[in-house]
Amino acid sequence: MTSRSFSLDPRRGGWAQWREEHRSWWEEWRRGIHRFRRSRLSMVGLVMVLSLVGVALTGPWWVPHPEDATGALHISERFQPPSWEHPFGTDEVGRDVFSRVVLGTRISFQVGAIILIVAITIGVTLGGMAGYFGGWVNEVIMRVTDIMLTFPGIFLALAITAALGPGVRNAMLALSITWWPGYARLVQAQVLSAREEDYVEAARAIGAGHARILFRHILPNLLSAIIVKASMDIGFAILNLAALGFIGVGAQQPTPEWGAMVAFGRRFLPHYWWYSTFPGLAMFFTVFGFNMLGDGLRDVLDPQSRHGV
């Protein structure tokens, strides 16, 4: 969280001393956490996200039919309506929809996280360089960023995935490629203004190199803005992955991916309504949780921005 190094060495007072040295930062955090806890929506979001992370981590050990995510068939049990045995019913080959929805959480979270990590790495590096060096570096990087931002919606991701061949991995790659420009924009603008600050001047005066100034002095100040954007984006990354799965270029059978499940279930509407309904609900609640959390995080970490949803 901070660029300064600290030591847990007892002779230097350890934790107490660290807290003393970072007093203003620490106070700000405590105020932020207080604000966050007072917002009911953010707390609901936090609880939802934490429980879903728990589900994603532990799912494989407790779902009733883990084999249903890897291509098991139970034709005799096809299209069972929701019951105690199958809370979300069964699909066209008798797989337990509940087990598949639960195991789908894992895939969505993993992919969402990977997309964001890749996008943030590319976006922050390029945006940081553009803002820091300015001049032609800035021009080239930002023009490319603008072009990428001009691509309509999930269109480019659709084209890339179709070209590379369907599958979770390619969908992930395509979404990462289309996702970085937002971060580049965010970071570039902030670095551009931070470049002229006194502390950067000071760091330069004591001989810090470009990389050190950028990564150790400027970027840590942008962390909260990046975290806020990422917390809202992860939900949308999950939605976009599901959208590609729904169109048919994302996850393929028998991978239990929510969007693909909605698409398959759709063929059996209106009779077997449960097949499409439950994966969609899971998707909605996951993204809703992340958005509520992100909304609260923005109030905490980025109090100046008033454009909340």
């Binding site: 691509f151 919606g153 999930i154 659709l158 890339i160 909605v262 509407l269 909304d295 949803v309």
Partner: protein, 337 residues
């Protein structure tokens, strides 16, 4: 006159953007591991036939030559031909675009008509239950997997209640109305054909509601916070001190000032939605450019994809330029640099 230079400069900047867009899509098109020509020729084509087809599409040339040939065509208004249906891409765009435009326009109207009163109510009842409700609804709307919502609405209104058609733009049992602009709602109104108008409107309702959700949520919440901002300004206090009724302050002075930023956001969303309606068009079988794009991508038919990308990219940039100009018109303090 700075404005003229500003417009000229922005128009000139479109050129590198379009070149960039075309380069990216061209690269993506050439990533295809399979052979699109073989796919298009069908499984029983002989090698000679495939070769002939390859030459017909110019795909036997080196890549830079292919690109330059393509761009020469683009400058002459030729976006190439679809390998799947053999029609020129421009013909298809002309056929499918009005459907998308109609869908997006109506969804924007919905967002404005419902969003502005929603925002006013939320701002007036700040932090009380109407505001909290609108916050939850807005967060819920942007979290909604729109393709799933579309399916659920289809299920409810078209299949269970049977009050609205399932999909498509018009009833197949009734003669298709003659088109003027291609936007059925407008065309039937212009001709005074009320029966067809009702049929078209009933088909449009569910897709437009789904398409408007994001714009509606953003309009309501952004406008709300802008209204609250404007309410803090001195001129409002002044007006109150002068005894001007709160209602007049709110609707005549505050709303006018607060709407400026919303207009620019709606402009952006409009441009964005023109290419972003792929999912809704897929679910409702709405014959617009989103559905066209999806079908082209799934069959690896890359001429239409490049054509659509360039077309939508151009529209998007033009709409953004128009929004920026409108912004200056609404707020004379804005100076173009």
């Amino acid at each position: 006159m700075h404005l003229r230079y500003y417009i000229l400069r922005r128009l000139l900047l479109i050129v590198p953007v379009l070149v960039g867009l075309s380069l990216v899509t061209f690269t993506v098109a050439r990533l295809v591991p399979g052979d699109p020509v073989k796919l298009a020729a069908g499984p029983r084509a002989s090698p000679e036939e495939i070769q002939r087809l390859r030459e017909a599409f110019g795909l036997d040339q080196p890549l830079p030559v292919q690109y330059l040939q393509y761009m020469r065509g683009v400058l002459q208004g030729d976006l190439g031909r679809s390998m799947m249906n053999g029609r020129p891409v421009t013909t298809d765009l002309r056929r499918y675009f009005p459907a998308t435009l109609e869908l997006v326009l109506v969804s924007m109207v919905l967002a404005v008509v419902l969003g502005i009163p929603g925002a006013v109510v939320a701002a007036v009842y700040r932090d009380r239950w109407p505001d909290q409700l609108s916050r939850v609804l807005a967060l819920g709307s942007i979290s909604m997997p729109v393709f799933w919502l579309a399916i659920m609405l289809q299920l409810l209104f078209a299949q269970y209640l049977r009050v609205l058609p399932v999909s498509g733009r018009f009833d197949a049992r009734v003669p298709y109305p003659e088109t003027i602009t291609g936007m059925l709602i407008l065309d039937t109104l212009l001709r005074g054909d009320w029966t067809s108008f009702r049929i078209a409107l009933r088909h449009l309702l569910l897709p437009a509601v789904c398409q408007s959700l994001l714009a509606l949520a953003l309009t309501t919440r952004f406008l709300r916070s802008d209204i609250l901002d404007v309410l803090q300004r001195d001129f409002v206090r002044m007006a109150r001190a002068n005894g001007i009724p709160e209602r007049i302050i709110l609707f005549k002075y505050v709303l006018k000032n607060a709407l400026i930023a919303t207009v620019s956001m709606l402009g952006f969303l409009f441009g964005y939605s023109l290419g972003g309606s792929v999912l809704i068009e897929t679910v409702f079988d709405w014959p617009g450019i989103g559905l066209y794009a999806m079908n082209s991508a799934l069959t690896l038919d890359f001429q239409p994809i490049m054509g659509i990308t360039l077309f939508v990219g151009l529209l998007f940039t033009l709409v953004n330029l128009a929004t920026d100009l409108l912004y200056g018109l609404l707020d004379p303090r804005i100076r173009y640099g």
